[in-house]
């Protein structure tokens, strides 16, 4: 696998705010067949309009077009590059990421975003699963042998419209997420999946070409990727400023950059409410905020909606397997429908089905299933998992248990498997257990979700079994060393024996009872 470093520098062209009608002549999204080309047409039409604004300056759509074309030409010039080749992006949110993303698609490649801060064991599993042909990485993560790629000199207007061959049913990106066994699964999203989901969201959310979205969600995450698509495909502006870590910087950045929207996972809103001084900072430009990637407590959602009014607050629901959003709760329904994830987005079907895939009567809890042109092609090289998730009738089993009400709103009741949402990431307890069991051979580890400081985190129980000795300090050290922060247990207990159910399985419910509350 060869590594490439992008050295595109800053955009020197002065950005000029273009009117929304600057999209004239761009084919409508429903006619698009290739996501890369859809980007190309918007970028060409938007020219000097800022695509990305950072603390340092603006990057116009024209610059983005040249940068993406630079990537496309480089990839196509390689004799070993064939359509369908996998290009891994190990880049944080940046103009380079966006250019590499669409450049790869324009070259008929497949994008594989890699989280920058993933534990090495997991990263290795992903790399072994998809064997990327090319890696695009920043200088500090690239090896000595990496080649550098410069920006082409040609102006955006002189670049000929490329003719990629891949269409709506072809694979566009592989999004790795946690599967029901704990091993990473590559969600295969086609050009059509991503295009149709963007179209659905643009139908139900007020995103216009004059939008200036403050974007802090990572693009390697399904929700972040969805935000990227909806804004680029409308020719809107994304603002990269502030830090999720320091919540007060979020309202400050919204005010400073006149941002019109902001989207985040529930944990971020929890921090924003506690330490973000939301309501103190005036944000006259703000039109809406949205949450997805986990369930936000209803009282918090209502309070946020009050604090940001007259701006709207949208509760949304989605899954990587659906590219990524499935439901939206209209802001005027928030206070009346406690705990609702909303109604199906335009073009998406949601239904609660029983174990034989028959619809359950309204009000009864069952498997929440989704169908539509945004539902993935399947899991990368994993037919068994694909069959388990995707029935022949096209229904995607989300793994969430839900019920619906008389008006078609859905409510999540729990999970059908052990997957846990932490900071918007789907984590299987086995991801933690396997790391501990590998470090302490013979020991049996069980990880469980627990509430800590108002958020979902993990607790760990370890039973040494036989002669294997397990030391608490060593256990902590292994977790710190081998796990990313959101998977590190905040509570660890060593037990002589793990409690078992009557079926001789580990009794997770009994372990859960032992947890301190907090």
């Amino acid at each position: 696998m060869d590594t490439i470093i992008l050295q595109f520098g800053d955009d020197e062209t002065p950005a000029r705010m273009a009117a929304a009608d600057g999209l004239r002549g761009v084919p409508p999204l429903e006619d698009a067949v290739n996501l890369g080309l859809a980007f190309f047409d918007v970028a060409r039409a938007r020219g000097d309009h800022p695509a990305i604004v950072t603390e340092k300056g603006a990057f116009t759509y024209g610059w983005l077009l040249r940068a993406a074309e630079s990537v496309r030409r480089y990839l196509c010039s390689r004799p070993d590059f064939a359509p369908g080749a996998r290009v891994a992006l190990k880049l944080a949110n940046s103009p380079d990421y966006v250019a590499a993303y669409y450049g790869t698609l324009l070259a008929d490649g497949v994008v594989v975003p890699l989280p920058v801060a993933l534990e090495s064991m997991r990263l290795k599993q992903i790399e072994e699963a998809c064997r990327p042909d090319i890696l695009i990485a920043p200088k500090n993560l690239a090896g000595e042998a990496a080649a550098t790629l410069a920006l082409i000199a040609q102006s955006a207007d002189d670049i000929a419209r490329p003719a990629p061959k891949r269409g709506r049913d072809d694979l566009a990106m592989l999004l790795f997420t946690s599967g029901s066994t704990g091993l990473p699964k590559g969600v295969m999203l086609s050009h059509g999946n991503i295009l149709s989901n963007a179209q659905s969201i643009l139908h139900d959310l007020p995103i216009t070409a004059n939008e200036r979205a403050l974007v802090l969600l990572p693009f390697c995450h399904a929700f972040g990727n969805s935000i990227l698509q909806t804004h680029v495909l409308t020719g809107a502006t994304m603002v990269f400023a502030g830090a999720l870590m320091f919540p007060a910087t979020i309202p400050q950045s919204i005010a400073k950059f006149e941002a019109t929207s902001f989207s985040a996972v529930p944990e971020v809103y929890g921090m924003l409410m506690k330490y973000g001084r939301l309501g103190e900072q005036k944000m006259p430009s703000l039109r809406y905020m949205s949450v997805a990637g986990g369930q936000l407590r209803h009282d918090l959602a209502v309070r946020i909606a009050e604090l940001i009014a007259p701006a709207d607050f949208y509760v949304m629901y989605g899954q990587s397997e659906a590219a990524a959003r499935l439901a939206v709760l209209p802001p005027d329904q928030l206070s009346a429908r406690e705990g609702a994830i909303g109604r199906a987005l335009a073009g998406v079907e949601l239904s609660v089905l029983d174990e034989s895939n028959r619809p359950l009567p309204q009000g009864e809890a069952g498997m929440l299933c989704a169908r539509g042109p945004n539902v993935m092609l399947g899991y990368w090289q994993d037919e068994a998992a694909t069959r388990e998730a995707l029935g022949e009738d096209g229904w995607l089993r989300t793994g969430d248990l839900a019920r619906s009400d008389a008006d078609g709103y859905f409510y999540i009741e729990g999970r059908a498997n052990l997957l846990v949402k932490v900071q918007g990431y789907r984590v299987h307890p086995a991801e933690i257990e396997s790391v501990v069991e590998a470090a302490f051979p013979g020991a049996r580890a069980v990880a469980l979700p627990m509430q800590h400081a108002g958020e979902t985190r993990f607790a760990l129980f370890v039973a040494p079994q036989g002669a294997a000795a397990v030391d608490l300090a060593e256990l902590r050290a292994v977790c710190q060393r081998d796990l990313p922060p959101y998977k590190i247990p905040v509570y660890i207990e060593i037990l002589e024996e793990l409690p078992l159910t009557s079926g001789y399985k580990v009794d997770r419910a009994a372990l859960s009872m032992r947890l301190p509350s907090g």
Binding site: A117, L244, M245, F246, P247, A248, R481
Partner: protein, 87 residues
């Protein structure tokens, strides 16, 4: 009872060090932001530790880069908030 600065320094340093095992040289003046050691989860946990252990309550004005740049900045924050709570 007034807090002993030396004790708070030891507590904070120990907690942050336990979360940064790959950074053995962690000191009171280590720049946690520049070294990329502080992420949002460590921040949440440090705040949780501070609030639980010293019985102080932090507000939005405290959770910013100035107060969390280094272990000693965190100690300063604890000392000043604890003194304010006593006054």
């Amino acid at each position: 009872m007034a807090l002993e600065r030396a004790q708070v320094e030891a507590d904070i340093l120990k907690f942050v060090a336990s979360r940064c095992p790959n950074h053995p040289g962690l000191a009171l003046d280590t720049d946690l932001l520049e070294e990329g050691l502080l992420d949002s989860l460590l921040l949440i946990d440090v705040i949780f530790q501070i609030e639980e252990r010293y019985g102080i309550k932090l507000g939005g004005e405290h959770v910013g880069p100035a107060h969390f740049r280094s272990p000693s900045a965190i100690v300063d924050l604890v000392m000043s908030q604890s003194a304010a709570a006593q006054a």
